[in-house]
Symmetry: D2
Amino acid sequence: MNKSIINYQPIIEHIYQDLLLRKNYGEVASYIPELAGIDDEQFGICLAHVSGEIYCAGDWEPQFSLQSIVKVLLLSMAYARLGGQLWQRVGVEPSGTPFNSLGTLEHDDGIPRNPFSNAGAIVISDILIDLYENPRQALLEMIRAFAGDESIQFDKKVAESEKNEGHRNVALVNFLKSLGNIHNDVDEVLDLYFDCCSVSINCQQLAKTFLLFANNGQTIDQQHRLLNRSQTKRINAIMLTCGFYDEAGDFAYKVGLPGKSGVGGGIVAVLPNEFSIAVWSPRLNEKGNSYRGLKFLEQFTTDTGQSIF
Amino acid sequence: MNKSIINYQPIIEHIYQDLLLRKNYGEVASYIPELAGIDDEQFGICLAHVSGEIYCAGDWEPQFSLQSIVKVLLLSMAYARLGGQLWQRVGVEPSGTPFNSLGTLEHDDGIPRNPFSNAGAIVISDILIDLYENPRQALLEMIRAFAGDESIQFDKKVAESEKNEGHRNVALVNFLKSLGNIHNDVDEVLDLYFDCCSVSINCQQLAKTFLLFANNGQTIDQQHRLLNRSQTKRINAIMLTCGFYDEAGDFAYKVGLPGKSGVGGGIVAVLPNEFSIAVWSPRLNEKGNSYRGLKFLEQFTTDTGQSIF
Amino acid sequence: MNKSIINYQPIIEHIYQDLLLRKNYGEVASYIPELAGIDDEQFGICLAHVSGEIYCAGDWEPQFSLQSIVKVLLLSMAYARLGGQLWQRVGVEPSGTPFNSLGTLEHDDGIPRNPFSNAGAIVISDILIDLYENPRQALLEMIRAFAGDESIQFDKKVAESEKNEGHRNVALVNFLKSLGNIHNDVDEVLDLYFDCCSVSINCQQLAKTFLLFANNGQTIDQQHRLLNRSQTKRINAIMLTCGFYDEAGDFAYKVGLPGKSGVGGGIVAVLPNEFSIAVWSPRLNEKGNSYRGLKFLEQFTTDTGQSIF
Amino acid sequence: MNKSIINYQPIIEHIYQDLLLRKNYGEVASYIPELAGIDDEQFGICLAHVSGEIYCAGDWEPQFSLQSIVKVLLLSMAYARLGGQLWQRVGVEPSGTPFNSLGTLEHDDGIPRNPFSNAGAIVISDILIDLYENPRQALLEMIRAFAGDESIQFDKKVAESEKNEGHRNVALVNFLKSLGNIHNDVDEVLDLYFDCCSVSINCQQLAKTFLLFANNGQTIDQQHRLLNRSQTKRINAIMLTCGFYDEAGDFAYKVGLPGKSGVGGGIVAVLPNEFSIAVWSPRLNEKGNSYRGLKFLEQFTTDTGQSIF
């Protein structure tokens, strides 16, 4: 079975060039001061195919802050160990509300609607403290192994910057604690969460890391496995229904791939059994998702007809 | 390309038999009196493959009430004519709330979150009155053409029964009217909506009708087309994110197929480029979805590994 | 005991003249077409004292539409007959939401937060159908007896006008019915509600009618009694906490009297054991309360120091 | 004018004895561990009349924790200095939600609905840090002056206990900070708030302190003034509409006096120009208000006919 019939390089380059010619919109995330100083016209793409082929364009080399994209990895780490038991602490339903909303928690007894809301990811962080001796290290080693790059690091400045300004997340973790769904010290949980969000990564490293979700949970050289086939499908399903906050339906509708975005401007998406694709551009639309990232992916799946639907 | 490598017959039969041995749960929908009298242990399945093969098991012949499943067809009829303009009247985001909720409309200026909530389907009904000279007839002709069966009919008793008890839907249409998102007479809109929900269909007819969503918008003999390829993908995406009310995330997670359920006990799901599958069993779980239908589909995609993820 | 030490005439006239010199703001209620055509600069006042004295100023003679003010009378009629049993069907808590909100009903199982929301008044109307053989006639006779004026009538045109446009209220009554808190036919309930809201009244008639709430539930000539002393206090308490929708706290804060407003531009307030005061001016602020009416009452209680606090 | 015609002593004693004979209900507040160990059958009353008379019964001497009752004093301290400008930071509307809810803040841009919710009192605490050099000391001196007792103190153990368990309030202050409505350091604000709530007081001291709200803002010996007459009326109005969380309407309805409760089991209420009355009994109903305190006050105003309505 020759998977990589398509040569994605000219397709990616064409859309990249086309978008460069068009007006860019949106604002860089300002609530993390360390991220605000970035050159906001940067724009990179990398597609990693299960065949081993890699296709890149634009600013695929500079590193950016992983931010919420890490929630998929944290969830996978917890799910790999706990299995379905995990869903006693967090749901799998889209919430229809912004990523940092506290609104529905009160009605739901502190069970976040899904693991990709901030509340959900904070609960997952709490769970990881109980599951891993050193969850930071475990995350880093996993990313390094899947990306095939030992140089990937946390960015302490970004983590510090967010800790100083992250009042909303401090509110969330304390609210969750008051509702009984945080078992460890709130500061310890939040520190872990902010550190994990601060991973510095580039498009190629990100695409390679997320290739596991297109490849049944393992690296294409089969040296590393995070999830089994069934678990991988289920994480993909959650990405599709919950990966883009209150724009999840719109992303499914326009792009048609499981994916996840972060306020660092990164978006990563997956076509199971085919490829993962990472796009990065720092300016965000009003929903907090990369403007050019979304435009690129919409054009890409329209042009190639490649989507899960 | 021989699509139908798999012989689905023994798989379907096996799961069917297995579920018959297990305890059944749930209640028949009671708010439509005409539906309440049904033999609630009936259980039928039909899979229609794009290759033309048909696989059936159990009570696939008796007809049941289409109910909310018709929302997919109504949406498709409106979308086929209006295209993206349609989204000025209704959104594509999962709502995280029950199917008949009025809660979020107030905040959203009368724009329903998605076309598969009752509010959304009522707005679609209003739109169809403006788009089609005889929308009832247009719906019926479309179903008959795709199912290949001219005998399919509305069930006037069911429609009447729902009209007499449908206070929640009367509330919805009037609320939407007060918010400016119903353009025709409220009674006319609601009559159309209830009539469309009342279509009597069996598993095989339903699977055949929905095969269009697995076959890029047309019948497999290419005689009838409702949507183009891109439109079909988008309807599938909306089914995946919004097809099961506040259980949509759970269905995506456990089954991993675009689909839609109705309170008549029917569920239909689609694997693009492969098949559609209709399951029917009247007893509903507390979210309003067929208990055995969900169990069947979860087992089916687990056993076959066939899902979009 | 000489209650009427104060001569209110010059006080009322002074504030009336002062407000005439100031810019008027707000819009006439437009959702009832029959009310929209009114001369919106009209402005009248009448204070009725328990001593029998009457003080009037400005346009106290023209009649206007009672609208939501009637909710106090409907509540009193139901409470007089049912007593505390009434609170099984409707609460006494301020809602913090607009008068026609459906939002909280879903969480509260169809029990309106208070009897002065539209939902609450519709439930009261339903109750009155069960309590009175002819509730319309009973209401009219009560108003006529307390106002001492047999000419007071419903305004059929206003009632018709509201019935044709009252989609929000149709939504409410059907929503309440679906939640089990309407026992009679929805159209019959709504007809009664709209008819009762349509009573035509002028400032003097209104002040005289509401004098019962300043006089322990009876007319000052003791010929007619609606409520006993304790019941009267309780209705006054509900007026204070719930009489002005989501502006109730502000009214208590600025005016400090139990009162009730209507979209016809009327406001009536009560100082127990002293007086009732009716103010009318059709232009409404964004909360739906008479702009000049509020200004007048705020100035009046500030100048006289007369409030319950 | 001889204000104190009534001898309240036998009335108070009678109701006190009567309630002792009846079953007590409710739970002591458990979320502040230091409060949980209290003898929960204690029950004291003190009425302080503007004439200078004092009437006590039961356990009026033991001290209890002021808790939320202090919110009235904090509000008064801020209002005395800022006047109406204060309402840019906090509203005066009842919220219809529990005291520690975060729900509505998101919609209201961080402006708490009223100063007696926890959110509102935390914002007031923030304001006091800007207005007073030493707000703790200012509060204590004020209470001591009005109660006429220099021995009144903060209870450091209670404050510490609440700080250790107050995750919900940590959530609130951080949420408010993220919404821009906290200007000082969150920990400093919360420390002040918890310290102020921890004041130890007994029924007589409390009744004497709150007599200012029945006496136009000053002590009856006119030696100390906190508010002017108009300001006092307005604080009373806010107590009436917002003093009992989501039981405010019920308290107005049953008791008919401005008042405030605390989870220490204290309730204080005021009849303007007449008296203040403090009741204390630690067991709380499900709304967080003293069960016996409410029963006492309801019986008291029913028996005496003394209420603002």
